[in-house]
């Protein structure tokens, strides 16, 4: 299956069968997608990690099959942007729906199955995580459930591949469902008044803004009449939505009678003893923050900072590039390329190899890989949702909710990726605040590693730098929360069980993210090399550096730091790496170094992040963030530099 698989983003040809995977977050949709297609999207233990629809095509049974993986959704009444994305892929076109459910949580999932059945498209239920349900003694009677629903129900274990072939076969053969899953009275007659598709009418009457608007425009007369009838009976959209949900739940409970073993504990079954003790540890006030501190220290400071940014960078940069690859390339270039100008493009000060590839592989790769590895470990263990819960109250003060923990922490890896992930946040206001904080006060891992590397000579400088970043983060967040209009967000989250991270999952997530990252940055590094080389050749670089020099002096830095800021516009980590060189040559004092580290951390985000901000938030917001970041960077940098020189001992 895997050999015939490839990523495809185009429209679906008429002869292609389309299978759409839907289901709640955390039930193994993406893992199942990987099994079906051989493509691994970032599988995660946290809602919001598949923020986009992923497609894969393969050939099965002589037909072209397109499999679509959607972001997690709980019901057809969406709360977040990602759920809207998932729903949109269901309401348009013809396809077979594969509803992926957690075999241990059927009560939660079956109401959505019933909604999907009323779409009129073929439906197959994939009862995933069957191994966990078996282990808990809660394996459902799949044949009985399938008979009652009238659609295939296949037990699967995405992690081992159990049931995946059967699922594919059933999905390709599934007929459209028989009618009979309409809502009971009085809902069905209420819904039929609207005169459109049953589910669409139900969603409109339940107050879904998007669909209500569509129905009101296309069927104004019947809609007004149906709405009046709804209000007479239920006094508004919300009571109607609740009543419908209760009715569906009753249908689901009736369907499950006898399907689930009548094990002790019932619906309020408790988790394992260890898992509960661990939960208490990570969520209690004192021990919880102690664990956060430990994770930060061991995972990020020691592993990413020490091993990734220290040992690994040192070895790859100094030994591999410095001693072997660099000299070898130099020798090769000298003998093979007779023209010095062209030779410079490869191995000169701004060469593709000596600058672009070297920075990408020797400095950025080890740090980013180490960071994504730690992030994947935290993610797969189920710790991230608990961290979100723990920090919810604090983040509320900044106009965010606990959910923002994911993009903010991810930002320490790659701000561009994190900006994309802010779309899992619920309101425009939250997304805006998170985007601003990411652009300004969250250094990405490459930057972090290099900055910490430079400053490690003066531990006091690290403290000043970290304190100032925290201060900017809190001040800007608080200001944004107070100044930006809009309601403060409310926080809700399903907590997955804590578990040991699965090595295969962790490796897969790490490699998917590292690959995404490199696909984004390597072209930029190479482009930056070429531009700098061309600028150097034509004298434009000197002129641009000259223009920046007054600004750089304003912050109290030597003029030699100007090129670092210029690189910084291409990649923030690139700029930081430029400073690294300066520090190595001993051109910077503690005060100027601290100032430089602060300014470059706060300074204009890299081009990739700017483009992502423009894509996700629009040009106006992206430009505004750019201006704010520049002003804050130089203002704070200048202020701190002035203070440090005043203190003495730093100059």
């Amino acid at each position: 299956m895997g050999a015939a698989t490839q990523l495809a983003h185009g429209a679906t040809a008429a002869s292609t069968v389309q299978l759409v995977l839907v289901g709640a977050p955390n039930v193994g949709k993406s893992a199942l997608f990987g099994r079906l297609t051989g493509i691994y999207a970032v599988v995660s233990n946290y809602p919001g990690t598949s923020v986009e629809v992923t497609r894969g095509t393969l050939t099965a049974g002589g037909r072209r099959v397109e499999v679509v993986d959607t972001p997690g959704m709980y019901s057809m009444l969406p709360v977040s942007e990602e759920e809207r994305v998932a729903r949109a892929s269901l309401l348009v076109g013809t396809h077979t729906v594969i509803h992926v459910v957690d075999a241990s949580h059927l009560e939660r999932s079956l109401p959505l199955t019933l909604q999907l059945l009323s779409l009129g498209q073929p439906v197959v239920v994939a009862c995933n995580l069957l191994d966990e349900a078996r282990a808990a003694g809660r394996a459902p009677d799949l044949a009985l459930l399938s008979g009652r629903l009238g659609v295939p129900v296949v037990g699967t274990v995405a992690t081992t591949g159990e049931g995946v072939d059967e699922l594919m076969a059933e999905a390709l053969a599934a007929p459209p469902p028989a009618d009979g899953w309409a809502l009971p009275e009085p809902f069905s007659s209420m819904v039929s008044r609207v005169g459109t598709d049953g589910l669409v009418a139900e969603l409109a009457l339940s107050g879904d803004p998007e669909i209500e608007c569509e129905v009101r425009e296309s069927l104004p007369g019947p809609w007004d009449e149906a709405r009046a009838a709804r209000d007479a009976r239920w006094a508004g959209a919300e009571p109607f939505a609740v009543a419908v949900a209760v009715a569906r739940r009753r249908m689901a409970v009736a369907l499950l009678d006898g399907v689930l073993p009548a094990a002790g504990g019932g619906v309020l079954q408790e988790g394992g003893r260890w898992a509960r003790a661990l939960d208490r540890l990570v969520l209690s006030p004192w021990s919880g923050f102690l664990v956060v501190g430990l994770v930060l220290y061991l995972g990020f400071y020691k592993f990413v900072g020490g091993l990734g940014a220290g040992t690994a960078v040192d070895w790859i940069d100094r030994v591999m590039f410095g001693r072997f690859l660099g000299p070898a390339a130099d020798a090769l270039a000298r003998s093979a390329i007779p023209w010095p100008v062209v030779r410079d493009l490869v191995t000169g000060p701004y060469g593709l190899l000596s600058l672009g590839l070297r920075y990408a592989f020797a400095i950025v790769l080890p740090i980013v890989t180490a960071f994504f590895l730690v992030f994947a470990l935290l993610e797969d263990s189920g710790y991230l949702p608990r961290l979100a819960l723990l920090l919810d109250r604090a983040l509320k003060r900044l106009g965010l909710s606990g959910r923002a923990v994911i993009p903010l922490v991810l930002g320490f890896g790659c701000n561009t990726m994190a900006t994309l992930v802010t779309r899992t946040l619920e309101s425009r206001r939250e997304r805006l605040i998170a985007t601003l904080l990411l652009a300004l006060a969250i250094p990405c891992s490459a930057q972090l590693g290099v900055v910490l590397g430079i400053l490690s000579v003066w531990p006091a400088a690290v403290v000043v730098w970290a304190l100032e970043l925290d201060l900017v983060f809190l001040t800007v967040g608080r200001l944004a929360a107070v100044l930006l209009p809009g309601e403060s967000p409310s926080f809700y989250l399903e907590l997955p069980r804590l578990r040991w991270p699965q090595p295969l999952n962790v490796l897969r997530k790490t490699s998917t993210r590292v690959r995404w990252y490199f696909a984004e940055i390597l072209p930029l590094f190479l482009l930056a090399s070429v531009l700098l080389w061309a600028g150097d050749l034509t004298g434009l670089l000197q002129r641009a550096t000259g223009l920046l020099e007054p600004l750089v002096r304003l912050v109290g830095l030597p003029a030699g730091a100007a090129p670092a800021f210029l690189y910084g516009f291409f990649r923030r980590d690139f700029g930081a790496a430029g400073l690294y060189e300066l520090a190595h040559k001993g051109l910077l004092t503690p005060a100027s170094l601290t100032t430089a580290a602060i300014t470059i951390t706060l300074f204009v985000p890299c081009i990739a992040q700017f483009l992502m901000m423009k894509r996700e938030r629009g040009l106006k917001v992206a430009a505004a963030v750019l201006v704010v970041a520049t002003v804050v960077a130089f203002a704070v940098g200048g202020l701190v530099g002035w203070l440090l020189r005043a203190v003495g001992g730093w100059a």
């Binding site: 939660r108 939505a241 988790g271 309601e487």
Partner: protein
């Protein structure tokens, strides 16, 4: 929350007319370890209501409160969900006997 019949806010055991009245408490007021049944949803906004529905918090559903800090953590339908005080305030429950 007041009784729709007599206006009492405290609740009367053995209500003479058998009105659909219960000693209403918000989910936010429960202590860890208490069991309750959801009776009514009174969310602040439609968006908040949709969040409650997404979590499976529906009238008639039984739940156990696991934690009260840093947010309300509860167990229902074999899953574990967390919601902040604002959302929990919009869930009216009656304690299990």
């Amino acid at each position: 929350m007041k009784c729709t019949m007599c206006g009492s806010a405290a609740g009367c055991d053995g209500c003479p007319i058998g009105a659909d009245f219960f000693v209403a408490r918000s989910l936010a007021s429960l202590a860890a370890g208490q069991r309750a049944t959801i009776r009514r949803l009174a969310a602040r906004t439609p968006a908040d209501l949709r969040k409650l529905l997404a979590l499976g918090l529906l009238p008639g559903v039984e739940l156990v409160v696991e934690r009260h800090w840093p947010a309300v953590v509860l167990r229902l339908d074999c899953s574990c969900v967390a919601l902040d005080a604002t959302l929990a305030d919009g869930v009216l429950v009656s304690l299990a006997a």
